[in-house]
Amino acid sequence: MRDDPAVIALVARARDGDQHAWHELVDRYAPLVWSICNRYQLSRPDIDDVGQTVWLLLVEQLGNLREPAALPGWLATTTQRECLRVLRAARKYDSFGSPVESQMSPDQPAVMIEQEVIAAELNAALRAAFAELPPRCRQLLSMLIGDPPRSYAEISATLPIPIGSIGPQRARCLDRLRRSPSLVALSDGEFNGSAVKDARTNDSGGEQGG
């Protein structure tokens, strides 16, 4: 995923002053930052603190990211570093140490980060692909994955479409989703976590203490 044109374009536009591009980047990757903070079991105020710091650092680094496509990896490692900083600060008042860290083997965070970045990229691509679908498809798929799932009879009454065509329409909509440029870009990219390693070696400019 080193050359996802969507991410590269968003970073370039945000760097050049396009606020909408920035908003889209935050929308895309806030779930990644949020999920890492939750993994460290931070309190809500601490999560807000980490989130703000991470986005501030990114605003500052927009012009310096050597591999814009490696942004998710950069965000993940930066979020993790800020979470650890918050936990360290908390420990000054708590001599028992953090249960989160002491349970982890040294390799565990790196492996987790790689998985989280891959999942975040996949999720972002799926959401982008979903947003590109025609409204009728979005409506139908939303009802099919609703919690609790709706019955075909309910869907037929709400949309409205004949029960007999729900199955074929579902297949057509999913096929459209599968062929959307966002998802195709993902499967074409080299998706082996290299973006994460890249971000780790390239983020010296973003290391603001901690």
Partner: protein, 151 residues
């Protein structure tokens, strides 16, 4: 990726992606969006180029708090800012030395201003809440802002 999945797998993955997005509180996302207000402020950015903790190859100890002084260096084309962090204060120095003022900024905005003496030195006490950045103006018209600092 997506093209090797059958319909059930794709639907399940879509469901999970939308769930992950819904799990994030709207305020958390809004706070991230508002960080853009800090983009392109009118000063040259001084990057962190040296951090005694990072660059001495020593990772910060989790178990024992050492009392050693931490040193940070921020570098821009026109000005270098050195910072020493002690227990309850910061001591800074501009290189080359120049008289001016340092504004301390936190996410909430500017919280204090401190003068820079003729040797380029400036004390900051107490240590500001993290993260913070230093906005330096010298009398010769140089304006430099450091990257965000978290201690």
């Amino acid at each position: 990726m997506g093209d090797s999945w059958d319909d059930e797998q794709l639907l399940a993955a879509l469901k999970e992606s939308l769930r992950a997005r819904r799990a994030v509180p709207p305020e958390f996302i809004e706070a991230g969006k508002s960080a853009y207000a800090w983009h392109n402020i009118d000063a040259e950015l001084a990057q962190l180029t040296y951090d005694s903790i990072r660059d001495s190859g020593r990772t910060p100890s989790m178990r024992s708090e050492t009392a050693s002084i931490r040193a940070l260096t921020f570098t821009s084309a026109h000005l270098t800012i050195e910072l020493e962090v002690s227990e309850d204060s910061l001591l800074g120095q501009l290189i080359p030395a120049g008289v001016g003022a340092i504004e301390i900024q936190t996410r909430a905005g500017a919280i204090a201003t401190t003068p820079v003496d003729e040797l380029g030195c400036f004390p900051i006490r107490p240590i500001p809440a993290s993260p913070f950045r230093l906005h330096c103006h010298t009398t010769d018209g140089t304006a430099v802002v450091t990257g965000w600092i978290t201690l």
